[in-house]
Amino acid sequence: MIPSDHFVRFYNEVFKFLEKRGEKDLRDYWLEISRHQEIHCLELFKTKGLKGMVEYWTHIKEEENCDMTIREFDDHIEFEMHKCPSLSKVLDNDASPMERYCDHCPGWCIPLIRKAGFYPVYDLISRKEPRCRCSIFKN
């Protein structure tokens, strides 16, 4: 059993494998994650909109021990990740990090959020620091 705590280090190895196969292989996998996440999120995001997204990511924040601030406004929401637990573990790793590890997050989130009818804007800041920002707008 790979402990659930170590999933992202396995994920990092999956990304390295796919990157060697080619860009399309990597992007197809992110879209597969996105389709899988639709089961948990799409209805919630469509029916509750930005409130539904806050509900989902508040749950993730607690479950995945994220140091993150979520801000709500009338027409948009903002997530500010101060310490991403996922990239932190990939960097704290005896295996080499996949250089574009962070890209999987917008890779699956953007298609899902767009499908729900909203407009996300990502700022990854740096792929070597475990922090980023994302704003999601109604229109």
């Binding site: 059993m1 396995f10 899988h36 704290d92």
Partner: protein, 146 residues
């Protein structure tokens, strides 16, 4: 121990492993999946592997105990005929995938077999991993026959 996570345990990641296993095995074949698990064992668990190279099994045993306790697995570690055997009676990973309502991939448990092969690569030890039931397996650590 090299990785000793604390805080909440996010067991849903076992579901993500199952989904990934289905995707990689379905698109690239079981050998590709085994290659990824082997690399995970060899590189992510380099510290355990280096201890085994020196004949020190303590890091592997600590790792087994820490994470099976953390995920509330039903298991026992026993010394049997010169081997150290991990008996997993109820695997928390398989249990959680089923709890999520997912069909457990036929390749799901190959994570254990091939991560174990990677961890012991280039060491005087090998781990014989045998699935004994839907939720159970044995992992027997022993010195390789020379």
């Amino acid at each position: 121990m090299r990785y000793k996570e604390t805080g909440q345990v996010h067991l849903d990641f076992h579901g993500a492993v199952n989904t990934t296993v289905e995707y990689i095995a379905g698109k690239y074949g079981a050998d590709a999946l085994h290659e990824i698990f082997f690399a995970t064992g060899r590189d992510v668990y380099k510290d355990i592997r280096e201890h085994l190279q020196k004949g020190d099994t303590s890091e592997l045993l600590n790792y087994w105990k820490y994470f099976f306790d953390r995920e509330k697995g039903d298991y026992e570690i026993k010394e049997e005929n010169g081997k150290i055997v991990l008996h997993v009676r109820k695997c928390p990973a398989v249990e959680h995938v089923k709890k999520l309502g997912l069909k457990v991939s036929p390749e799901f448990c190959s994570q254990t077999t091939y991560v174990n092969k990677g961890i012991t690569d280039g060491t005087p030890y090998e781990i014989e991993t045998v699935k004994t039931g839907e939720y159970s397996c044995t992992q027997a650590l022993r010195r390789r026959k020379s």
